[in-house]
C-alpha cells in the first residue's frame, strides 16, 4: 500500500503538469478535447493523492520506521488517533495533505461547473493544476519526499512532539488547510476572468460561496489554534503573536476585507481593481502561511520543519505569482474601471471601504511585525524579536475601529445616508452602549480599554438586534406575513446579509472575550498536601483549592506521569476536583505540563502544575516527594471565544446555504459532443 502511495505521488506530477498545459492550451486554441482531458486530470490527480495519503497513513499505522518521516513523527506506543493524523504532523506529510485538499476542492469546482460557467473553466483548471503541480514538484525534488527511506529501519521512532498530541491539534491544521486551499478556487477563477477578459461581476458571483467557505474554515482554524494554545501550551493564554499564528491570521484578515469589498462591486460596480488585488493578495498569503509554517524560515513554537531550502523555492513561486497577477491586472486595466463613484462618506460603500482599509492596515502591521525580525537579522546579523506588546499596542485601536464599523455599517444605507436619519438610528444603540459602560464602571470595572470594548460591543449588539426587529417588521408589513414567518423569510431570502449579521454577533463575543482578559487573576504558591490556595474571582466569589497530593499512574505512550489533585470550593461550598499533570513521554526528554480547566459561562478556573520539587521521586510514587508549586488562574470570559466561534459557524452556514433561486436548471450533457465547428475563447 505504501509503495503504491509512493508511486502515485510520482505519477501525480506528470498528470498534473499535463492537465495544466492542456487547460491553458485548450482554452487558448478552443480545443474542447484538451480542456476535457485537463478536467479529467483534476480528478486523476485527486485520486492519486488519495493513494499517496493512504500510503503515508499506512506507513504510520504499520510502524514502518524505515521511512524517515514516520521514524521522526511516530513511535510504536503512539495512540492510533495520532498515527493517522501523522499525515499532517510534519512538513513532508503536510505538503502532501495540502496538495490533497487542493485537488479535492479543484475536483469539486470542476464537477459543479461541468455544465455551467464553461468560459472560465479552461484557465481556472490550468491555474488549479499549476498550483497543485508546484506542490508536487516541491515534494519530489526539494528533499521533502515523505516516502524517503533511510539506509536502515530503527527499532522505534522518535515519537510525536507531545504538544501535538492533543485533540485540537489534530483538527486545527486540517481546518486551516481547508481554508487555505479553498481560497485557491476564487483565485483561479479571478485569473481566468483576467485571461478571458470577462471582467464583469460573474467571476465574483461564481466564487462567492467558495470565498465564504474558505473564510469560514480560516476563522475556525484560527479559533481551534487558540483553543489548542490555551489547553496545551500551559500558560493560560490563547494567542502568542507567534509567526505561525500571525501567518494564519493574515489571509483571514484580507479574506474578510475581500468578502466585504465584493459586495461593493456587486452592488455598485466599483473597486474592480481593488478586488482583483485582494483576491491575489489573499491567495499569496495562504501560500505564505503554508510556507512559513513548513519552511523553517522563522522559528516559532510550531514551525515543525526541518528543511529551509524550500523556503526559497516558495519565495520564488510567490514572486512569480505576484508578478503574473500585477501584469495581468495592468494588461486588463481598461476593463477594470469603476462604473460608479462613492457619492458620500455617509454611505455603506464608504463604510465598507474604511473596513477594508482598516483590515489591510491590520494585515500589514501583523505582516511587518512577523517579518521584521527576519529582515533585521538579514541586514544586521542581530536577532530581534517583536513581541506581543508591539502587536497589541498597534492592533488594539485597529480592532476597536473595526468593532465600531461593525455597528455603523448596517445602519448606513447604500449610496447616501442622510445625517438626520443616521443620528436618529444611532441614538438608541449609543445610549445602550453608554448605559453599559456606566453600569460596569459603577460595579467596579475601571479598565479603560475594556470599558470601551464592552461599550462598543453593546452598541453593535443593539444595532444588530434592532436590524433584525426592523427587518422583520418591514417584511411583515410588505408581505402581510406573521412576524415569525416574516423573520424566517427575511433571513432565508437574503442569507448573505443576515447570516453576515449573525457572524458579527460571534465576532463581537470574541472581542468581548479579549477585553475580559484584562480582569484575569492569578496566584502562584508552593504547597504540601492539605494546604490550600485561595483566589478571588472578579465576579465577587472566591475559590479555595486544597492540594490532595500527587499520584503516578502510567498512560499510553507515557514513561511517567505525576497527577496533582485539588479539591475545589466556591465560597466554602465544595464543587468538585481539578487535576494538573507533569508527563514524561517515552520518546521525549523534557517533562510536559498538562493543565486542569473547570469552565463556567463567565470564567475558567485554570490550574498549572508549575513545578514538583522532587519530580523523579513523584514519578516513583514517593510519599515524601509531594511538595509542588501551582499557578491558579481565573480567566474571565475566555469561553466566549469558543461560543463566538460557534455563532460564526451558524452564521457562515446560513450564508453558505444554497438559496432556492440559486439552483440551476437540470444539467445537460457533459460534453459538447464531438469536435464542433467553432469553440473558441476570447
Amino acid at each position: 500500500m505504501t509503495l503504491l502511495g509512493e508511486a502515485a505521488l510520482w505519477f501525480a506530477l506528470p498528470i498534473g503538469l499535463w492537465g495544466a498545459v492542456a487547460g491553458f492550451v485548450g482554452g487558448r486554441k478552443g480545443r474542447g478535447d484538451l480542456v476535457l482531458s485537463a478536467e479529467y486530470s483534476v480528478y486523476a490527480v485527486f485520486f492519486l493523492l488519495i493513494l499517496a495519503s493512504v500510503g503515508i497513513m499506512n506507513a504510520f499505522v504499520t510502524d514502518q520506521f524505515q521511512y524517515w518521516y514516520v521514524a521522526n513523527y511516530s513511535n510504536r506506543e503512539l495512540e492510533m488517533f495520532y498515527k493517522v493524523s501523522g499525515l499532517w504532523a510534519g512538513q513532508r506529510g503536510s505538503l502532501v495533505f495540502w496538495a490533497l485538499l487542493l485537488s479535492f476542492f479543484s475536483s469539486v469546482a470542476v464537477f459543479t461547473n461541468r455544465t455551467k460557467n464553461r468560459e472560465f473553466i479552461p484557465y481556472a483548471v490550468g491555474v488549479l493544476l499549476t498550483i497543485t503541480s508546484f506542490f508536487l514538484l516541491v515534494l519530489l525534488f526539494a528533499e521533502v519526499n515523505p516516502f524517503e527511506r533511510m539506509p536502515f529501519a530503527p527499532a522505534d521512532g522518535r515519537g510525536l512532539n507531545p504538544q501535538l498530541q492533543n485533540y485540537w491539534m489534530t483538527i486545527h491544521p486540517p481546518t486551516l488547510y481547508l481554508g487555505f486551499t479553498a481560497f485557491t478556487v476564487p483565485f483561479a477563477f479571478a485569473i481566468s476572468a483576467l485571461l478571458t477578459g470577462k471582467l464583469d461581476t460573474r467571476w465574483i458571483v461564481i466564487t462567492r460561496r467558495w470565498t465564504l467557505l474558505s473564510w469560514f474554515f480560516l476563522a475556525n482554524g484560527v479559533i481551534f489554534g487558540m483553543r489548542w494554545a490555551y489547553e496545551e501550551l500551559g500558560w493560560g493564554g490563547f494567542w502568542f503573536w507567534d509567526p505561525v499564528e500571525n501567518a494564519s491570521l493574515l489571509p483571514w484578515l484580507t479574506a474578510t476585507a475581500f468578502l466585504h469589498s465584493i459586495q461593493i462591486q456587486e452592488n455598485r460596480g466599483m473597486l474592480k481593481v481593488w478586488n482583483m488585488g485582494l483576491v491575489a493578495l489573499t491567495f499569496l498569503l495562504t501560500i505564505f502561511a503554508t510556507f512559513l509554517t513548513r519552511s523553517g524560515l522563522i522559528e516559532s513554537v510550531h514551525t515543525f520543519s526541518e528543511n529551509t531550502r524550500i523556503a526559497f523555492i516558495f519565495l520564488t513561486f510567490m514572486g512569480f505569482i505576484a508578478a503574473v497577477c500585477i501584469l495581468l491586472i495592468a494588461w486588463r486595466y481598461p476593463l477594470l474601471k469603476s462604473e460608479n463613484q462613492i457619492q458620500s462618506f455617509l454611505s455603506r460603500e464608504a463604510a465598507f471601504l474604511f473596513n477594508n482599509l482598516i483590515l489591510l492596515g491590520a494585515a500589514f502591521t501583523v505582516l511587518w511585525g512577523t517579518l521584521f525580525p527576519l529582515i533585521s537579522e538579514g541586514f544586521t546579523g542581530q536577532q530581534m524579536t517583536v513581541g506581543p506588546p508591539f502587536f497589541e499596542r498597534v492592533n488594539l485601536p485597529i480592532g476597536l475601529a473595526l468593532l465600531a464599523l461593525m455597528g455603523i455599517g448596517p445602519v448606513i444605507a447604500w449610496r447616501k445616508a442622510s445625517r438626520r436619519n443616521l443620528i436618529k438610528n444611532f441614538v438608541a444603540p449609543v445610549v445602550v452602549g453608554a448605559v453599559v459602560v456606566v453600569l460596569l464602571y459603577l460595579r467596579g470595572v475601571h479598565h479603560g480599554m475594556a470599558l470601551v470594548t464592552f461599550g462598543l460591543s453593546s452598541f453593535v449588539m443593539t444595532i444588530i438586534v434592532v436590524e433584525f426587529v426592523k427587518g422583520t417588521k418591514a417584511r411583515a408589513s410588505i408581505e402581510g406575513e406573521g412576524h415569525l414567518l416574516a423573520f424566517f423569510h427575511l433571513v432565508s431570502r437574503n442569507r448573505r446579509r443576515w447570516g453576515g449579521y449573525i457572524v458579527h454577533v460571534g465576532i463581537v463575543m470574541i472581542f468581548t472575550a479579549f477585553a475580559g482578559a484584562a480582569f484575569d487573576r492569578e496566584v502562584v504558591q508552593t504547597l504540601d498536601p492539605g494546604e490550600a490556595i485561595t483566589i478571588e474571582s472578579p465576579f465577587g466569589h472566591e475559590y479555595t483549592l486544597t492540594y490532595q497530593g500527587l499520584s503516578s499512574p502510567r498512560g499510553q505512550n507515557l514513561l511517567r506521569q505525576a497527577v496533582a489533585l485539588m479539591s475545589v470550593e466556591k465560597d466554602g461550598r465544595p464543587i468538585g476536583f481539578i487535576e494538573a499533570e507533569k508527563r514524561l513521554y517515552v520518546t521525549w526528554e523534557a517533562p510536559v505540563t498538562e493543565v486542569g480547566i473547570r469552565s463556567t459561562f463567565l470564567e475558567d478556573l485554570y490550574l498549572i502544575l508549575e513545578n514538583v520539587n522532587d519530580l523523579g521521586g513523584a514519578f516513583e510514587n514517593d510519599a515524601q516527594a509531594q511538595r509542588a508549586t501551582f499557578e491558579v488562574q481565573v480567566n474571565v470570559l475566555v469561553n466566549w471565544i469558543w461560543y463566538g466561534g460557534f455563532i460564526i459557524t451558524v452564521g457562515s452556514i446560513i450564508g453558505l446555504w444554497p438559496s432556492r433561486g440559486s439552483t440551476k436548471p437540470a444539467p445537460r450533457a457533459k460534453t459538447g459532443g464531438k469536435r464542433p465547428a467553432l469553440a473558441t475563447l476570447g
Binding site: L4, A7, A8, F11, I15, G19, G27, G30, R31, G32, D33, L34, V35, L36, S37, E39, Y40, S41, A44, F47, L48, T115, K116, N117, R118, E119, I121, P122, D200, T201, R202, N267, G269, I412, A413, W414, K416, A417, S418, R420, N421, N425, E467, K470, G471, K473, A474, R475, S477, I478, G480, R493, K664, T671, G672, G673, K674, P676, A679, T680
Partner: protein
C-alpha cells in the same frame, strides 16, 4: 508492482480518453446561465429591495428613497433590455422604453421572453402605481387613492415601492 502498473495505465487512459475519442467539452456560456446583464439586473432589483427595507426601517429619507428608487428602477430596466438585446440582437429598445419584439425567432424561448416582459411590467408598475404609502409605508390595494392605514393621499405618479414580488 502489478497494482502500480494497473493504476498507471488506468489513469493515463482516463485522462487521455477525450483526446483519443475526440470528445469535446463545451467552452461557451450556456443560455440558461447568468449573463452580465442578468447580474446587473439582479443587483438593481436587490438594490430596490434593500432600498425599500432601508426606507421602511428609517435609514433613508423619503426624498432620498424616491431618487434612489427611480435610479435603481432605471438601471433594472436597462439591464432587462440589454438582456433581451443580448439574447436576440434584432430586438431593440432604449432605457425607459420597453423593447419591441421583432417577431423573429431568437435564442430565448417565447416563454423566457414573456417572463422578461412581465418583469419589466412589474418594475414599471411599482414605479408608477403609488400603492405603498410614502407617509407610513403601508401597502395598499391596487388603484387606492388614499392609504387605508393613515389616510394619507397616495401619489399616483412616483410615490411607491416597486411590486414587492418582483424584488424578492
Amino acid at each position: 508492482m502489478v497494482g502500480v502498473t494497473l493504476v498507471a495505465t488506468g489513469v493515463v487512459l482516463f485522462v487521455m480518453l477525450p483526446v483519443l475519442r475526440g470528445d469535446w467539452a463545451t467552452l461557451e456560456r450556456s443560455e440558461d446561465e447568468v449573463t452580465e446583464a442578468d447580474a446587473r439586473k439582479q443587483a438593481a432589483l436587490r438594490g430596490l429591495r434593500d432600498a425599500e427595507y432601508d426606507y421602511r426601517s428609517g435609514k433613508i429619507d423619503q426624498a432620498d428613497y424616491q431618487v434612489l428608487k427611480t435610479d435603481l428602477a432605471r438601471q433594472a430596466l436597462q439591464a432587462i433590455e440589454d438582456e433581451i438585446s443580448d439574447a436576440d440582437p434584432s430586438v431593440g429598445g432604449t432605457a425607459g422604453q420597453p423593447a419591441v419584439k421583432s417577431g423573429k425567432a431568437g435564442k430565448k424561448s417565447a416563454r423566457d421572453r414573456a417572463l422578461l416582459e412581465a418583469e419589466i411590467a412589474s418594475v414599471r408598475k411599482g414605479m408608477v402605481d403609488g400603492r405603498t404609502c410614502t407617509i407610513c409605508g403601508h401597502l395598499n390595494v391596487e388603484e387606492s387613492r388614499f392609504c387605508t392605514n393613515c389616510g394619507g393621499e397616495l401619489d399616483s405618479r412616483a410615490g411607491s415601492a416597486p411590486e414587492p414580488a418582483s424584488v424578492r
